[in-house]
């Protein structure tokens, strides 16, 4: 007799198989017809005194991988050479973009010429397929014509007796051009929760999409779980993913569509409350050229709140009862704060515009963080130039919709925070403290930074403070900041002159004197 649990398990397996079967067939190769003329008429010979050519115009840019001619070999020992050439003066240019040769069969049919490396073609430009043979007349190849010069209206046939002087033919030739388009990939991650107790699970949902016309040869999602999280399960197989190691997921021939899979992990015990577990997601891929796309890295921070110690004679219920009103007050305070202000993204950027560290709460950026940081610096430079009068005053913020960007400049860096909600001033102070800590610990490095990321790796460890994961800055830290402000006033730096905090204060606000008062 089959148990209900077993029936459910069997049903799950069937559902899994059904989902796999429903997955769309991937475009498994780089050979997709891009341009063709299949109309067949009569043949024309190719030999050392007569080379033939056919022009074509790609409607979209693509990588050419193969050309097929409807042809036959008239002498078994001869090879037929096919070249792709640009157009010059209405005929094939003397220079070739690529070429290849095959020894075809004596029977007529589509004869394939594969190109390696692939040839990149631009849309709306004219290219020529040039077919040549060193065989004597009557011993080369036959290429079939189409019986008309309008069989392929965008191109024309041509011939030459010596490989140099070309003339227009009267008919198009039968040909097919294969290739592939480039994929356009995007990747994002979301977490089901930002905090969890020991034993509780968090589900990471990884989404990637290909909005390009072509497929990606391979795509990897590499997940590095921190020691505080233990792998439970994943469902990558549902979309054809193959898991290996801990934990790499590979997908091949990723066509144009949206993909999503999940990984579940649970918090292990015996870690201090408040421990931040960082899960790193790396997304990489290659096109059919073997060329890598820009890797995307996301980090999901999960805070372990309760280690879950239970074995003790201590009357925990008393502590529990006492904690209820405290918890209620904390909740109300937290709720008010969370309604007031929600931090979405933090960027720490070198004065050159290079991103030093980045952390995201939403984990769904569709833009590269390095590029965002660089463009933000460019916009700041532009605004300063456009609106500053005598002094170069740094931009301190932007607003768009429900989001605000707070910018806190330092001597050789700035911190930009994207947040939602209203700041009563305390948040700006925390950002200032963060910027001060960066200055304290990395100021000397940043003053003559060479671009070596190892030297600034520790900056990222400071960012969780903006999510309230560390105590707010002490009065000692604020004193240090005041000292820095004085230092800036006393020792102006030509590279940052005019960027001191007092210049950056908003109208009606003197940031550092507020605290002194």
């Amino acid at each position: 007799m089959t148990s209900p649990a077993r029936r459910i398990s069997s049903l799950g397996c069937l559902l899994l198989l059904a989902l796999i079967a429903m997955a769309p067939a991937a475009k498994a190769d780089p050979y997709h017809i891009q341009v063709q003329n299949d109309a067949l008429g009569t043949e024309q010979g190719i030999h050392r005194q007569q080379w033939l050519a056919q022009s074509f115009v790609p409607a979209t840019s693509f990588f050419l991988s193969r050309v097929s001619l409807y042809a036959r070999d008239r002498s078994p020992s001869e090879v037929l050479t096919v070249q792709i050439r640009p157009s010059f003066g209405g005929f094939p240019d003397s220079a070739s973009l690529a070429g290849t040769a095959v020894n075809g069969p004596s029977s007529a049919g589509w004869l394939n010429f594969d190109f390696d490396p692939y040839v990149e073609l631009d849309r709306n430009l004219t290219y020529w397929i040039v077919a040549s043979s060193n065989a004597l007349s009557g011993q080369g190849y036959d290429w079939w014509r189409s019986g008309s010069n309008s069989a392929y209206p965008q191109g024309t046939g041509a011939f030459t007796p010596n490989g140099v002087n070309w003339s227009n033919g009267t008919q198009d030739f039968a040909f097919r051009v294969y290739g592939f388009h480039q994929p356009i990939l995007a990747f994002s991650v979301s977490a089901s929760r930002l905090t969890l107790d020991a034993g509780q699970s968090v589900v990471f949902t990884m989404n990637f999409s290909n909005t390009g016309l072509g497929s990606a040869n391979s795509v990897w999602v590499n997940v590095s779980l921190p020691p505080q999280l233990s792998f439970v399960s994943d469902d990558a197989i549902l979309i054809g993913g193959i898991r290996s190691g801990a934990y790499s997921f590979k997908f091949t021939n990723v066509g144009s569509r949206f993909w999503s899979f999940r990984l579940t992990a649970s918090a292990v015990g015996a870690v201090p409350t408040g421990t931040v577990a960082e899960t790193v997601f790396v997304f990489e891929g290659t096109d059919h050229n073997g060329r890598s796309f820009t890797r995307v890295v996301h980090v999901a921070s999960t805070t372990i709140l309760n280690p879950g110690s239970t074995s003790s004679d201590f009357p925990w219920w008393i502590l529990g009862v006492a904690a209820i009103p405290i918890a209620a007050m904390v909740f109300l305070f937290w709720r008010r704060r969370s309604i007031d202000l929600s931090v979405e993204e933090v960027f720490v950027v070198h004065q050159s515009g290079i991103l030093l560290a980045h952390q995201s709460k939403t984990l769904t950026p569709d833009k590269d963080a390095d590029l965002l940081a660089a463009m933000l610096k460019t916009v700041q430079d532009f605004i300063q130039e456009a609106f500053s009068t005598r002094e170069r005053m740094p931009m301190r913020g932007l607003q768009f919709g429900e989001f605000s960007i707070l910018i806190e400049p330092g001597r050789n860096h700035y911190v930009a925070v994207v947040y939602r909600g209203q700041d009563d001033g305390s948040f700006a102070s925390r950002v200032g403290d963060l910027s001060g800590q960066i200055e304290d610990r990395f100021g000397i490095t940043l003053a003559s930074w060479s671009g070596d990321m190892r030297e600034v790796r520790g900056i990222r460890d400071l960012l969780p403070v903006l999510w309230g994961q560390e105590p707010e800055a002490s009065s000692e830290a604020r004193d240090r900041r005041k000292g820095r402000a004085r230092h800036w006033r006393q020792v102006p730096d030509s590279a940052t002159e005019g960027e001191s905090p007092e210049h950056g204060a908003r109208v009606g606000e003197t940031r550092f004197t507020d605290e002194e008062g």
């Binding site: 973009l97 990489e284 050159s352 660089a374 460019t378």
Partner: protein, 191 residues
Amino acid sequence: MPPSTAYKIKVCLVGEAAVGKTSLIRRFVLDQFDDRYTSTLGAKTTKAEIAVEDPETGEPVGIAMLIWDIMGDRHVPESLLQAYFRGTQGVIAVCDVLRLPTIERLRDWVQSVYSVAGALPTICAVNKADLLREAEAIYEGNDLNARIASLGAPHFLTSAKTGENVRTIFHRLAEDVLRRHRSESVTLPDA
């Protein structure tokens, strides 16, 4: 698997308008922003992630190149250009093989960068090499070669159309910047 990013460097592409800077970039890099940013702000940033050989260990080193595509229009204020050049670690100076004045103006562009960031590893890209035959017919080959050689920096004939040397100039510049960081000798043009 490509090596992880060990270095991030800032590179500026400079040169007169319509010499093909943006086309060279499109051929090689991650380009997420509309080109209208270039005409509005006077610059746009793109990114290329490459691997070059470590001059000390021979191991591959991942380098993220953040590339400022600087608008070649002379109406962009010099002070704004200087802000964009700040922190630059390498320069690709681009000219058009068919337009002699764009070659002659390169020295001014490079000096403008050097005045902010000091002498830097620099590569000259003589672009539109697919039209070299026409250029030689116009200028006579020797004269053109002499002018290109007088730039005083490593130079390459490039073509955004065919891809000729596009990868080479970015890789060569990344190698020069890395060697400079490692205190190795890199030939710098006169500042």
